[in-house]
Assembly symmetry: C3
Homo-oligomer: 330 residues x 3
């Protein structure tokens, strides 16, 4: 979605002449596109962050799932007509996230690896489907293919003995959260919440990983890094004022969708300006409400929101973009 930031021309030449290097290049870009960057170096830093985070959390399958998902989705999209999008990694990022999400919530088993395979291939089909539908209104598919495919597989895991859930929230009826009496910021770790908010985009909770993700953004677009950090901070503050559950705020659960909304509205689909800044601010705050709403809505069926709050809020703010903004990139 970003115009290609120039990597070493030598690498580009190499990628164009060697099929294997091309697949690696496009897979790296696919990983980077999870945060809207079309840059193989960003992909390297992101994969480094994923491996650091997944191994430090003791779930290596998350990292290997990411690799498998990205490569399979990239291969599945290799014969499509829309070659430019493929080269930019736009058919790979959903597979990357499918591969991260499934081992996070489901028990690792041979069937799970087959599900990552199937999910990555289907994510490409869903990508084409949603992109085709949304081009009527000039809006991108964002991470909707990832969310829809992963929701399908997670919901299905309840019906299938062969797919055992390991970390899904137990299905329940929503309860009204009681207000705290003490100081709003008691028990809130702003810095942790902010950083976890960034790594949780890849379903990882790790401060070192977050630093690597920010570095990955910065090598491709400084604005993207700035919006990611500020978006995360704003989301944590909003959730704190609204008195969301402390553990969720500190884990970055109210910030990861907001991070993506901030990058998307602030730097990917608009050029930074005062008007864009205010629009992004409202979008980020509203994303926090959508996060709370989806948390409630999904409680009875026991699945996580994934990045759907970002997808819904950003679609909502991107469709009217041309009516609200004086000028914008398409």
């Amino acid at each position: 979605m970003d115009v290609a930031n120039a990597p070493a021309p030598k690498w580009t030449q190499w990628a164009n002449s060697n099929r294997l290097i091309e697949i690696i290049d496009v897979s790296l870009r696919g990983c980077a596109q999870v945060m809207f960057q079309n840059n193989p170096l960003t992909g390297v830093l992101f994969f480094a962050a994923i491996f650091v985070g997944a191994y430090s959390e003791g779930i290596p399958a998350v990292a290997w799932g990411c690799v498998l998902g990205t490569v399979v989705a990239t291969l599945a999209g290799a014969h499509l007509k829309d070659r430019a999008s493929w080269k930019a990694g736009l058919y790979g990022y959903n597979g990357c996230l499918v591969g991260a999400a499934l081992p996070t919530f489901l028990h690792v088993s041979p069937i799970l690896w087959l599900c990552i395979l199937l999910g990555s291939v289907v994510s490409v089909i869903v990508m084409i489907c949603i992109a085709d539908i949304l081009k009527t209104w000039k809006v991108a598919a964002l991470t909707a293919p990832f969310v829809l495919v992963t929701w399908t597989l997670l919901l299905a895991s309840y019906a299938f003995g062969g797919l055992h859930n390991s970390a899904l929230p137990s299905p329940n009826l929503p309860h009204d959260l009681i207000a705290y009496n003490n100081d709003l910021f008691d028990g809130i770790h702003l810095f942790d919440g902010l950083l976890n908010g960034i790594s949780e985009v890849f379903l990882i909770s790790s401060l070192i990983a977050s630093a690597l993700f920010i570095a990955g953004l910065a090598v491709s677009s400084l604005w993207a890094a700035v919006f990611a950090v500020c978006g995360s901070l704003l989301a944590v503050l909003t959730a704190t004022v609204l008195q969301a559950e402390h553990a969720n705020i500190n884990n970055g659960m109210y910030a990861f969708s907001a991070v993506l909304t901030a990058i998307a509205l602030g730097s990917t689909f608009n050029k930074p300006s005062w008007r864009v800044l205010i629009y992004t601010l409202i979008g980020v705050i509203f994303t926090v409400f959508v996060q709370g709403a989806l948390n409630t809505l999904l409680t009875p069926v026991g699945i996580p929101t994934l990045t759907m709050p970002f997808v819904l809020a950003s679609w909502l703010f991107l469709v009217p973009n041309k009516d609200v903004m004086p000028a914008h990139r398409q």
Copy 2:
């Protein structure tokens, strides 16, 4: 949505020359557009009804929320390119309803007023978004922006200690209602059900308010008033035959969406005729089923249907309008 009924030309002149009067004029039209009328006098009568109803029910915040929501949404839409729609109040009515709904279901607090503010601004963005999507099929957004924004905030209130619910239905699993053995009309107050059905469009249960709402409709369009009253009666009768819960029928809970369907299908988007009458009749009866269905569907997540049954049924009947009707207004 209605061609402007002529108010005193003096008022129009005044509104065109004075910025403050213009905002008041457009806000009044915004309130009137909740029932599809583009008429400031209707807006005056509607606001009178809202204040009478809200104060008699002991929830003044509902009335002041309506005022705040309408004015904020009107101001937020003031700089949009689509000036004609703005002047007709089409960016104001969703804010009006957001302002009525939030204090009805949530505890009144400073954060609630901020939510009304945010919700009204976002209702304008959702309005542009939905209108933009639906213009592909020449259908209006109806009150969908209001419902989606309010659902988001109400669902989020379960996750946020700072937003305390005061009157939301408790989340539960649906139970099958047992049939009554006695006479169908035992315990049904037709007249109350009919009138409450009209005032419940604004989430108010008051007979005097209903009379004022009907008067407000009549000064703008006699047909609209007739369809509102007959639609409400038909809905109450349908719900009675289907043996819905008596309290809900008498409170107008099965009629308020049907009232809007009746006005929309019968007088706003079609010219009254025999064919239109039959189509509207089927639409109103089906709206009662959609109302029952959404009541069940939302039971596990503890939020009200708001006017979604009207929105869904009317979209359903309006898209095929051109294929079914010999001639119609667009």
Copy 3:
């Protein structure tokens, strides 16, 4: 959706000259269109299957509901402009399924018959609505009108004492299914599952009925019959490997949507080829996951998935059809 397979030309002449015969002809084609066939003889065999199945299961109302629904929907569509679709039975098949589904899940009563009447008429309106929306992306409405209308009525039955449910699943929170320790195929009746999967398209569980349905497909399109049988087998195998509940596999509950996906992707909207075969294979396997997912998703509201897994999976695979397939029919 199929080019008319030639029935006896005499019958066609007769149908063109006599209004009553025409209604019978179009109703028969309507029934056949449930499985995408435009052939009155297929309709005769399908109706025979329905009567055999419904009477052998002791629910004759299902068969008569089918007849009523098909005829009412056919009559309701008789005056529409899109005469070619009407003649092919495309306004009848949703009414046919509404008439089969309502008596399957709800207590038979005079109000139920009125609901079949209303549901069949509304199914035509939903058909026009969805077809109109989806033609933007050149995709058919499939059985979505049936599912949406029936879901509405079934959900509403919880709210209405006059509509008593007889066989709806009790609303509940989803539970994770435990894996079996023994052999995967222990307790699985492949042959029953395969055949029931075909008759369950019409909500009927009967081996003789299945044989008649396959015969009905074969007289119109041998490929359709082949894809139906192979699709059902593949779905039963997939559900077995994933360790779904045995009773559901043997009853064909994991196969009926897959049967329709197989016919649609393999023979109706594509010409059979190796590429189509692989695409259909992935589509059928994914339909089984969507079936499991929707089972979980609908558990808290106590309604069955009906053919929605087929509708969702097929839309998903049909929108990208032109980007994936070298050449295809429209």
